[in-house]
Symmetry: C2
Subunit: 135 residues, 2 copies
């Protein structure tokens, strides 16, 4: 993804392409594989990667802005920290409890044959499968 596309991506979501947002967006979206992170891990990686300095609050703000714009997914993981995923296409996860690591599973790798009806007055928004791993 080129810089020009980053600008487009931000503008089309109503986000001003500030220096901080562009830097973070480049870091998150200019990659081939999907990327899983917490705000803390992203912060550390940004510190290493760029000379630019970001307030922690800015990283929170930016990540949430990207999430609200649909550029990031928040992932259900038990625990204190919130995980995000640059893969916004519907998919599932392995979760390795030993390393606290998430691994994407393509939606087509899991086929569910039978599923219950949503309770009264509710609809199914989405189905997430978590495969917990052990050694």
């Amino acid at each position: 993804m080129k810089k020009i596309d980053i600008f487009k991506k931000l503008r089309s979501s109503g986000l001003r392409p500030t220096k901080q947002r562009v830097e973070i967006a480049k870091f998150l979206f200019e990659r081939d594989k999907t990327f899983h992170f917490t705000v803390e891990s992203l912060n550390k990686l940004l510190e290493k990667k760029t000379t630019f300095k970001f307030a922690l609050a800015t990283i929170y703000n930016t990540v949430h802005a990207f999430k609200n714009a649909g550029h990031l997914n928040e992932v259900d993981v038990r625990g204190k920290k919130t995980y995000f995923d640059t893969n916004i296409i519907n998919h599932h996860h392995f979760y390795d409890n030993e390393t606290s690591e998430l691994i994407d599973i393509d939606a087509k790798e899991i086929v569910i044959q039978k599923i219950p009806k949503a309770p009264n007055g509710k609809k199914i928004k989405n189905v997430e499968v978590f495969i917990n791993l052990k050694n």
Copy 2:
């Protein structure tokens, strides 16, 4: 579940049946349906239900002791608070984001036809399905 069984349950898990543990165990396990809670909600319910006074730390300690003994399940839910479930049999959940409510789904209600292999050197511990609900 009778009081005698509560004592047995605690003793057989190596937990001394203290007043606090017995009270909390009675509250959690003497029910027909499974029960979902957070430490905060449990604390509030105990305040109403019993005249007994519990330190918040005791509720944390006790819930974790019960979890470690296998009498409670911790449930993967996104968000700040940790959810627990008195249903320790393998099963799945509806999660209602509007009300932050969990609803059990019997394991047999969901049939998975195809599932990927665990990554290198890892094994599958368990599979959890989350059905997120909307109105």
